[in-house]
């Protein structure tokens, strides 16, 4: 479950790195305009995906527990938002 999140985190980081790279390349006059256009298109696509990974994920408070067979797993937990809300009430 969390490994999936991990992968998308990687993607987010990669997205951002690539986006910064694209923004830099767009500014370079030695990059032909048609290449710049292709880069721009890729950039917009990555922007959308990166923003999706941020807005669609919902963090949870879980506990790492050792199962009977000795393997480790997390409990389902509760949404972090709710926890934060509780904290603000204090």
């Amino acid at each position: 479950m969390t490994s999936g999140n991990n992968a998308s985190n990687q993607t987010f980081e990669q997205h951002l790195k690539r986006l910064e790279d694209i923004a830099g390349q767009l500014d370079r006059s030695d990059v032909p305009l048609d290449t710049a256009l292709a880069l721009f298109e890729e950039g917009i696509k990555r922007l959308r995906e990166a923003s999706d990974t941020l807005t669609m994920a919902e963090g949870r408070l879980k506990e790492l527990v050792e199962r009977a067979d000795g393997t480790l797993a997390t409990t389902d937990g509760r949404p972090l938002k709710q926890e934060a809300g509780d904290a603000d009430d204090d």
């Binding site: 969390t2 999140n5 980081e13 305009l33 941020l54 994920a57 963090g59 790492l64 937990g77």
Partner: protein
């Protein structure tokens, strides 16, 4: 004060009869009391037992101060030494089970305060002060322990700043090693939830104070490493006394933190002094809340960064397109004016050429006229009219064509004869062909 309390305790013990017959002996009141005559002699063991009861019952746990002398860690695991001042000394022991509560062993001559209680040995009647807790003046023991641990870690290169790893910029999962019920977890969850509620927080519960804390933290670090799915690890607890926080100065904990495959942030709350855990962790936060702020980028900021990147890309591309159009316009204008320039100069060239042509044709004409004049003169000489002027006549057909042979004239044909001063129309009477010579 301790002595007065001791006296009261002795009296209390007597009243309660706890010490049996011994108090009577000590206070010397009973006649036939044990030990009052050779007949009533006490066995040694009864005396030492009574002594044990009285002394141990009379003196509650108390703090004493003195200088450490003759410290000796025994093979049996216990520590033996003497505490002394200018005039007196007392034997002390630290049982092995109590040693964990002490930062380290005291040095010879170290001025310490020790919390303990008298133990009386049944076998010898000897009283020993059993120390459960000990502190050196000026925090000497703690400092010494810290220095020892620090030196050991430094020797193994675990404090090398080059070992520090960066915290991932965008962690998706933060593991927290702390007490499941402590304020630290609450603070961390609340800060991360407020800053970035897309991050998972996984608690790996551990005891963070007391004798079991170091082993518990080490085990939690092992679990975090085996599970391996966290991007960053916070190890810590809220504020407390130095003793409470001492587990974060444990060498075992330090080595486990140093060995963590996941980047770690130490967060031992409200402690002004840096702990050993702080030194080996990849990053140090002053409090659990600060650790949470360190690892969790604000979601709104990330989204704003993305929007800024988008604007940057759009603006850059727009500018490049505008620049492209501008340079296209410039090129077109350049071509246009170049063409115009070329046309003007071509026209100028044409004018020059035309003028030259005109000039030269005039010259040609003039030359022609001159030649015609000359030729005309010569032609005049050759002209038949000039011949007529010299007295010759020119026969022609009535149409005016010249007759150059008699064969083209027949008898009776009308001919015209041109002469210098007029013409004669005549009729041919006869045609005679000249004999060939």
């Amino acid at each position: 004060m301790a002595v007065r309390r001791g006296s009261r305790a002795v009296t209390g013990a007597t009243n309660a009869g706890v010490a049996g017959s011994a108090p009577g002996l000590i206070e010397g009141r009973a006649d036939a009391a044990p030990g009052s005559s050779p007949e009533h002699a006490l066995p040694v063991s009864a005396l030492t037992a009574a002594l044990k009861d009285v002394i141990e019952g009379a003196f509650p746990a108390m703090w004493i101060s003195g200088e450490v002398s003759g410290f000796k860690p025994h093979r049996n695991g216990h520590w033996y030494f003497t505490l002394k001042d200018a005039v007196a000394s007392i034997d002390c022991v630290v049982w092995s089970r109590d040693q964990a509560r002490m930062p380290t062993t005291p040095d010879e001559g170290m001025q310490v305060v020790a919390l303990g209680q008298f133990n009386v040995w049944n076998k010898t009647g000897k009283a020993t002060f059993a120390v459960r807790q000990m502190e050196a003046e000026g925090e000497g023991l703690w400092r010494k322990a810290l220095e020892q641990t620090r030196a050991a870690l430094e020797k193994d290169g675990l404090l090398d700043p080059a070992r520090k790893r960066p915290i991932p910029r965008f962690p998706k999962c933060v593991a927290v090693i702390t007490s499941a019920s402590g304020a630290a977890l609450h603070d961390i969850v609340s800060v991360i939830g407020r800053r970035n509620p897309t991050i998972d927080v996984v608690i790996i519960p551990a005891a963070v104070q007391g004798d079991s804390a170091p082993a518990s933290i080490v085990e939690a670090l092992r679990r975090a490493a085996v599970w391996g799915k966290a991007d960053v690890l916070i190890v810590g607890r809220g504020g407390g006394s130095r003793e409470d926080l001492w587990c974060f100065n444990s060498e075992a904990v330090a080595r486990a933190i140093a060995a963590s495959p996941i980047p770690t942030v130490s967060a031992v709350g409200h402690e002004v002094d840096i702990t050993i855990a702080d030194l080996v962790a990849d990053h140090r936060a002053a409090t659990p809340s600060a650790a949470a702020e360190l690892v969790a980028p604000v979601l709104a900021d990330l989204l704003a960064d993305l929007r800024a990147l988008q604007s940057l890309m759009i603006n850059t591309l727009t500018r490049r397109a505008r620049d492209g159009r501008r340079s296209l316009d410039a090129t077109r204008n350049g071509i246009r004016s170049a063409v115009a320039r070329r046309a003007t100069s071509a026209r100028r060239d044409l004018d020059v050429t035309m003028r030259q042509i005109r000039t030269s044709s005039v010259r040609v004409l003039e030359r022609g006229r001159d030649r015609i004049g000359v030729l005309g003169g010569r032609l005049n000489l050759l002209s038949p009219l000039a011949t007529l002027a010299r007295g010759y006549a020119l026969p022609r057909t009535p149409d005016g064509a010249a007759l150059t042979s008699v064969t083209s004239v027949k008898k009776g044909a009308r001919i015209n004869i041109m002469m210098k001063d007029g013409e004669i129309d005549a009729v041919t009477e006869a045609v005679r062909l000249k004999e060939r010579a």
